[in-house]
């Protein structure tokens, strides 16, 4: 296969990404401050989802506690900014990311030895435990009252910061997954024993994936903290964030480079629409979205898009039954 030469498909893909990026650059010019907030939310969710994709999508570990790193990022950023050194925002946010990565290493070393359900529940518990610690450690976190950050109100600042981080995230993901590391992650996901026998030292590579996913979540947390001003354990350690990043990744496509961004966009669209129509039933709709995607499209929109392209190019005939392929493969009769 000639891989170095760019195919027509790759040119089209690159061009559409560029168009999308330019469009995103001009969003603040055409949208109200309130609408811009929703776009920023989408980007921050995309950032978290990109991080989750590394551990959950590529490495195959169903991490259910990434909100812990979001919270750690938020608190570190906030506490450094209001400390006697008055650290500026960006350095404070990066300190948060580094701290989150360190915590991920410490937690990951024991927890990543667990498999399947055990890992999922253990991470869920870790997130709950960090919330309790943030709630109890009054002398540092001021307990459930929370902390207040310096006010910065231009929406454009947050929008462009988030956009820059998401773009960096896409580039980082693309480079990582095409490196040996990416191959090792996927090998671990597909079969851990086989991966070990193939010469892959699984433990440090899994921990690395976990720590990198923590970095993404912590950056998102830092940005959200600065934007929201007020940081409390209840708001920044809530399970909903973990669910959002997972479901956004699944909607887009786990283990794909653009999936998390696409999924976050779709999620934010659904959420914005639903949020205004049925405020009280928001979780119900979230539940329905999860159920729908898990049953009918667990491989996400990226795979639907590539299947759709095959149909368009006439390589494959369209069949409604295709939508039930997942169910057919996994049901028990």
């Amino acid at each position: 296969m000639p891989e170095r030469k760019l195919s027509r498909r790759q040119v089209i893909a690159a061009a559409s990404i560029l168009v999308l990026l330019v469009a995103l650059l001009f969003v603040p010019k055409f949208r109200s401050e309130y609408e811009l907030l929703n776009y920023t939310r989408f980007l921050i969710l995309a950032l978290m989802a990109q991080g989750w994709n590394l551990i959950g999508g590529y490495t195959g570990y169903a991490a259910f506690g990434n909100v812990a790193f979001f919270g750690i990022g938020a608190y570190t950023t906030g506490l450094l900014m209001i400390s006697k050194w008055a650290v500026p925002f960006f350095p404070a946010m990066f300190c948060g990311a580094i701290l989150a990565a360190l915590v991920a290493v410490v937690i990951g070393l024991p927890v990543l030895r667990l498999k399947g359900h055990y890992f999922a529940i253990a991470t869920l518990g870790v997130a709950e435990a960090t919330r309790e610690i943030a709630d109890t450690w009054d002398s540092v976190t001021q307990g459930s009252t929370g902390i207040d950050l310096p006010v910065r109100s231009e929406g454009e600042f947050f929008y462009y910061s988030a956009l820059a981080l998401v773009v960096l995230g896409v580039i980082a993901t693309a480079l990582l997954v095409r490196s040996k590391l990416g191959y090792a992650w996927v090998a671990i996901r597909e079969d851990q024993d086989a991966a070990r026998m193939l010469g892959i030292n699984t433990t440090p590579l899994k921990v690395l994936a976990f720590a990198l996913s923590a970095v993404f979540a912590a950056l998102a947390g830092g940005l959200t903290a600065y934007q929201n001003i007020h940081v409390t354990p209840g708001d920044f350690f809530k399970l909903e964030y973990t669910l959002q990043m997972i479901i956004a990744t699944i909607i887009g496509g786990t283990g794909t480079i653009f999936g998390p961004v696409l999924g976050a966009g779709v999620y934010q669209l659904l959420s914005t629409y639903v949020w205004t129509k049925f405020i009280e039933l928001h979780p119900t709709v979230l539940g329905l979205i999860i159920i729908f995607f898990i049953i009918f499209a667990p491989r996400g929109l990226m795979s639907l898009v590539s299947e759709g392209l095959k149909v368009v190019r006439g390589q494959k005939r369209f069949r409604w039954q295709g939508l039930l392929a997942n169910v057919r493969a996994h049901r028990v009769t």
């Binding site: 095409r178 996927v186 597909e190 024993d193 991966a195 070990r196 010469g199």
Partner: protein, 263 residues
Amino acid sequence: MVASGGNGTAEVLLEARQISKRFGGLAALQGIDLKIFRGEILGVIGPNGAGKTTFVNCISGLDKPTSGEILFKGVDITKMPSYAIGRLGLARTFQVVKPLKQLTVRDNVAVGAMFGAKGATRTTAQARAYAEEILERIGLQHRQGHKAAELTLPDLKRLELAKALAMNPELLFLDEVMAGLNQTEIERAMELIRGVNRSGITLFVIEHVMKAIMGISDRVVVLHFGKKIAEGNPQEVIEKPEVVEAYLGERFAKRVRGERKSP
């Protein structure tokens, strides 16, 4: 062939001393002593549950023996993790195949080329190129762009072999790579295995297909209930009464002996 049974001058590539493995109350391996000489094809036979795969698991680091020690190229690998053993030049296939299902056939093999004995010297592009080379040798190049999940069982068995070869091993454990193959495929597989051996790789071959194992092995070891009951030249080994008994069952063995006595 370099070595034959009992040849004291040949180089010992791997030595297992008094390997035992217990699973709870079950003694899966009981004090196995075994030497593998560089360059040979060592065949291993034994009925189901004899401990063949357990033995390979213990040597390759997937499982740890309860007692005993293993030396590979003079290095004690008894407690070494399996990835380090793999990088040292010992590769294996799995009887129950373990493909990386969502990767293409080429990428499956490329992973072996990236992390095996010579992995550190290769870039990802070089590893993929080497993978294509291996696939050509194995006769699987026409499937290289397919996902491993789409392969048939004979192709999956070949993929196991390709992944292991891509690691540039000095010693390769083949765990029933011929199971489920038909007569022609077995002939091809035997030729393939001989070719691999000629390229300088020492082989430890577990196989149920008697004809194949007799045809390719320089030496044969027989395991039965976790014990080594015979070792040596293939023809001599399978005629030993304890081997016939282990394989065919006591009653059948007696009948065979009875038939031989009667004129």
